[in-house]
Assembly symmetry: C2
Homo-oligomer: 351 residues x 2
């Protein structure tokens, strides 16, 4: 059915070897035959079979991407970054979201065997035991946002701790002393790091202020509940720092429902800089990590590791930047960013 090298070879009256050489751009072919073969291949619509190629060469020109879930702006950003860098290098992306169990993730990794030249794994939950059990030594692997530090693998992580410290610093600068932190899931690496950063900064800046921590689970709803608890606190805190933006939003709604004004009555900050953060009222002060850049850099690293398998593992940390908007009160509400600080040129909304 599908046309193969043999068909092209027969038509061109040469051997398959010569066709292969032409297809792969090897030099030692007469210009004459090369042209003839190319013409015939085009006419026959010949496209080499990647599976066979992989088998023969040992390369797939594909990387496997394992993400914890495929939900929300985060993943879309990361994937975009990865895709961008991958396409630049002629690499393809085999994508897999793992929903939950480690067993499933393990299965996904095994399924990658023979399909990929390298692995890109992101999981704030993945521990080193898991990797130990599942990483085949012959497949270069890069970890993204993982608790595992680069002893055995390349790893990228976010400066959750630094970002949280910077935010606390900012809140203190704004004159807030009594700061409440809304935490995330206990087994989530991002969440614990952010909490640690909060404590560190507070210990350094306000040794006499014991920071209150209210539980949360990263969901908007948990933020709402946290907001209710915070409202009930006496004396009322000066500021709330939520471990992520979604909780900050929930909290914001809870406040507005009770007539508490942000930032006049209480300051509010989040973490992540999700797109919505800009649009709520007041716009949310938060911490941004460039996820697309994370994906991009991770892929570049992986590509290097594939090319040169023996490079020693390392860990890189991506900086987190403070995004100051109106919700903490230091600046007056500047209004939407239109057209003051430039509009996003995003025109891909309904595609």
């Amino acid at each position: 059915m599908a046309v193969t090298v043999k068909d092209v070879a027969r038509e061109a009256q040469v051997s398959v070897a010569t066709v292969s050489r032409v297809i792969n751009g090897h030099s030692n072919v007469t210009e004459n035959t090369r042209a003839r073969i190319i013409e015939i291949a085009d006419r026959l619509r010949y496209v080499p079979d990647s599976a066979a190629r992989s088998l023969a060469t040992g390369f797939t020109h594909t990387v496997g991407v394992l993400l914890p879930d495929l939900h929300g702006e985060f993943f879309s950003e990361i994937i975009r970054g990865i895709d961008l860098a991958a396409r630049r290098r002629g690499l393809h992306l085999l994508l897999s979201g793992m929903h939950g169990s480690a067993g499933e993730a393990s299965l996904a990794i095994r399924a990658f065997k023979g399909r990929v030249d390298g692995l890109l794994i992101m999981s704030p939950y993945a521990d080193s035991a898991f990797l130990e059990a599942n990483s085949s030594d012959d497949t270069p692997t890069v970890l993204m946002n993982t608790p595992v530090r680069g002893k055995s693998h390349f790893a990228f992580c976010l400066d959750n701790r630094g970002g949280a410290r910077a935010m606390v610093q900012h809140l203190v600068n704004c004159g807030h002393r009594n700061i409440v932190f809304i935490g995330g899931p206990e087994d989530n690496f991002d969440a614990t790091e952010r909490l640690a950063g909060f404590h560190e900064a507070l210990a350094a800046l306000e040794p006499y202020s014991r920071g209150t921590v209210v539980p949360g689970d990263f969901s908007e709803e948990s933020g709402y509940r946290a907001g209710q608890r915070i409202t009930a606190l006496t004396p009322r805190p000066d500021a709330v720092f939520a471990a992520n933006d979604m909780m900050a939003l929930g909290c914001l709604f809870s406040f507005s429902k009770r007539g508490l004004r942000v930032p006049d009555d209480i300051a509010l900050a989040g973490f992540d800089d999700i797109p919505v953060a800009r649009f709520v009222s007041p716009p949310l002060t938060t911490v941004r990590v460039r996820m697309a850049e994370l994906g991009e850099r991770a892929l570049v690293r992986l590509a290097e590791a594939i090319a040169k398998p023996l490079a020693p593992p390392s860990t890189e940390t991506l900086p987190a930047e403070l995004v100051i908007r109106a919700s903490c009160g230091v600046r007056p509400y500047a209004g939407p960013r239109i057209p003051d600080d430039g509009m996003p040129t995003n025109s891909r909304d309904a595609d």
Copy 2:
């Protein structure tokens, strides 16, 4: 380096055929040898090579997904739906975003050869000539959100027209007569369909009201500019219907900058129901299409087509639902949906 069937066969003192039979769960193997081989395969950490398998069987258990871009909540939603359905069927996803040119898309499709059992292509720009030139007959293909109707391929499309009509109906119901439409890019299929729906509904409902159309390009910025133009109109329109939410937001900001209140002074509606729509003030009335469902159903269709290649092509249309919030004035602002109509259980924010 990597362990193959041969290694397992040698260790178990059987032929590779027997090992293969065990691995693939064929029945005709003694329970005794089966157990022994499984034990050895586990111990040796044998994982079959997918490339070789594909070559031998002709199946890759992978589908190629071609998207126009990987930006924003849309794609993340679609991919999530696809991934969900794919994992359920043991299929893998080879992902490719095509940035721009048809040539690049064509290249991407060719690169899929031998890697995938089927293709999932989304592009509101892809025309049938392109598909004609690039679709290999032996690869089942499903189109998502495309101008091409299912003559030669399976196709899914969104009910852009119906959604737009419903929105106009709603605006009229709210008492608005003088309605302005902000259009999208001219070569975008979604945009033209929405515009058509607008005209159709208006012609039916308000034969004497010629609807004004202001140009836009789906970007927030273009919405802002459209808002400026609309503000200058006399008499001032009753309502604005933007071809997508991003433009509606830009428009909203433009209004708020001029002190125009929504919905008191002017009603505003969008299309897409992007996550932000819920959070702006006032919350935006808009039209929702379940993108995850689109992805899911498209994958299911494709899986069917792969299993039974001769099924006749068809087209399915996904309904668009009106999402009524406060921006059109019919209902009082109900506040955030917390906890009245249930909080989203999204807790995946910072992963």
